[in-house]
Symmetry: C2
Amino acid sequence: MTAPSARITAVDTFDVRFPTSRELDGSDAMNPDPDYSAAYLVLRTDAGDGLEGHGFSFTIGRGNDVQVAAIAALRPHLVGRSVDELCADPGSLSRDLVGDSQLRWLGPEKGVMHMAIGAVVNAVWDLAAKRAGQPLWRLLAHADPEWLVSQVDFRYIADALTPEEALALLRAGRAGLAEREAALLERGYPGYTTSPGWLGYSDEKLTRLAKQAVADGFTQIKLKVGADLDDDVRRLRTARAAVGDGVRIAIDANQRWNVDEAIAWTNALAAFEPYWVEEPTSPDDVLGHATIREAIAPVKVATGEHVQNRIVFKQLLQAGALDVLQIDAARVGGVNENLAILLLAAKFGVPVCPHAGGVGLCELVQHLSMFDFLALSGTTENRVIEYVDHLHEHFDAPVVVREGHYRAPLTPGFSATMHPSSIAEYRYPDGAFWVADLAGQSS
Amino acid sequence: MTAPSARITAVDTFDVRFPTSRELDGSDAMNPDPDYSAAYLVLRTDAGDGLEGHGFSFTIGRGNDVQVAAIAALRPHLVGRSVDELCADPGSLSRDLVGDSQLRWLGPEKGVMHMAIGAVVNAVWDLAAKRAGQPLWRLLAHADPEWLVSQVDFRYIADALTPEEALALLRAGRAGLAEREAALLERGYPGYTTSPGWLGYSDEKLTRLAKQAVADGFTQIKLKVGADLDDDVRRLRTARAAVGDGVRIAIDANQRWNVDEAIAWTNALAAFEPYWVEEPTSPDDVLGHATIREAIAPVKVATGEHVQNRIVFKQLLQAGALDVLQIDAARVGGVNENLAILLLAAKFGVPVCPHAGGVGLCELVQHLSMFDFLALSGTTENRVIEYVDHLHEHFDAPVVVREGHYRAPLTPGFSATMHPSSIAEYRYPDGAFWVADLAGQSS
């Protein structure tokens, strides 16, 4: 179908912001008023097949324009590139982008520039999966192990995971693939919900949503904590009363504490048996997480949504600093780096429970967990994908969660495609919503 | 002089790029063709005293526009703010910027957004020192210890350094201040030079520049390494022959190696007695640096120019991962965060030898080392500031280095002010140099 000479012709970027702060959806101890936003991009080609690659960085409002500028700065690496070659080997693009010596100075491999690389790399995987007519999880799960290993950058992690070890893990993961795929298509992948637990919600709303979560089939919920200890005691008691003893309650401090505070605060909540404490301190503090983990067991330590790259994940695993590894689909350098992180987790035997929510993060990350189940971990035991019921309506192929499980998406691609009408409505500051909103503010 | 109601009226930004890649100045194993650049800003006020605050992020070319966009995103935090309040307490601005919950998502405290915060915070210190009629080093060295402690954000480092410990270090540092200040004004602060050692230079040029460095009074030079081991053996032998046994030769790999490679490569060069190996691997790899340090002693481990914030420095110190801590004036969140890092180094007894070079980094960082000497470390033993003789002519108060020592700058401010004519010439892409250059390329 595609002309073999097809090229990338354009990288179109969009600053898309949703006014979520108006409802206190997404409020936590560090993020009181997020406006969930996407620095969004579309790769266009001259293949004539109607297919585009979509990707985005997730931000929470201000600075989304900076993120868009960073994506735009990558345009020269993409325009003119062969579509066939790009989709056959997204790793080559990933290496080119991470290795651009001038852009590298702005990280390296962290923050705005690295998130931009992740958005672009993910858009290529979206295009590759669409061209293959497969949802990304399936493309990855059935890919040749040697090829998957070729997609991973082992620089700075080879002391913890060699290419040979990665290959052995992926080869071993092939056993039972067909049975697991049948089970995945039948039951889906377990999720947990954060919807009851936002910090801005009343106790009544917390109780109602917690009971609803159990009724909906979730076996784990999550509460935001860390603003006020007395409030947290009351809210955790309220949540425990609402869900009973059989449901796991995770707590999430969103980096609010110093090391000592994290230990004291978590232990003060221990009576309510929190399952894990998430982001107890700075995501940069490997040694701090190790200290906290030792002091709060049996409560588990979970982190990852703000971990900048595979090098920090490597150290968290080497230091025995976490019980639960939380990948994020849009923070690191895209699918290729998340393959490295999933392989590291498999090597160290630590379960992966992705961060999601925001806008589009559930849509993306489900593919990575499903690949993990089919091709690496081989199990969904103690593994859950975060679920938040916001903003899915803006996507072409929104996640489907039933009885507490993510249904395996069947639409080809990475589920990253946003409705053009949503982009037109919420483009900042010139979309219809913001034009009206800003006019209202000034009147 | 200043009206008490004076406000910040504008934050003007400039994308300034120098075509240094044409001469292979600044070439190393990771950065073959840097165009030293500044994402530059000027704070303007309505005080009527003619004073401005200047600051910048240093980049190496592409992406400087992204860095400028990040600085511009901070404008709403500055415009309208009281000049008196800002200059009396730059820490309050630093906390506001680091704590902006929406912008924080783009880091936190790392990469493009954090470097932008550093540029803005440094510009405020420049303005504060100009208003005080003092070079910044002197303002800091004579500041009240309690006030200095109030300028430090202890979040995420309090497990290693408490405010009380910081205060005790600063109080103890007052003893002998007057004598040290006299000595500083008399002799200056020792420097070392990287000018002979760029990777792109011939052996003849290396020999000539190394001999020149010794003749100029430097007791330490630095060589870039890491591209090819045979070349490095030859270059290090050449350098050792040129300078003799009494001069220290540091080597700098600019993050080129994995952990195992760093150990093997450094040990292969041990016969030439390198003094330190700099950036042997990823700046994110605390545990990797600790492993390397143990395996290459007595060669010292130095790092810091790409260390993103105080939290990673804290861990490098906690893990015993470095012998030499290299602050950078324009990578972290500005003077306030560098105060935290200097205090951490003092607490752990590790000498600080700043990274400099690029454009304007020597001008800035000399102030921090001189403060360190006067108010914290109390010594210049085993402490040297990097010196590279590039691009100083673009500054209003360029560094003066004589007999291997940085002379203490006496011009009020942070030495950050670039000539308006240099900005006009090298603004990208609309400055006179680039207009002519781009026209030449297209003709």
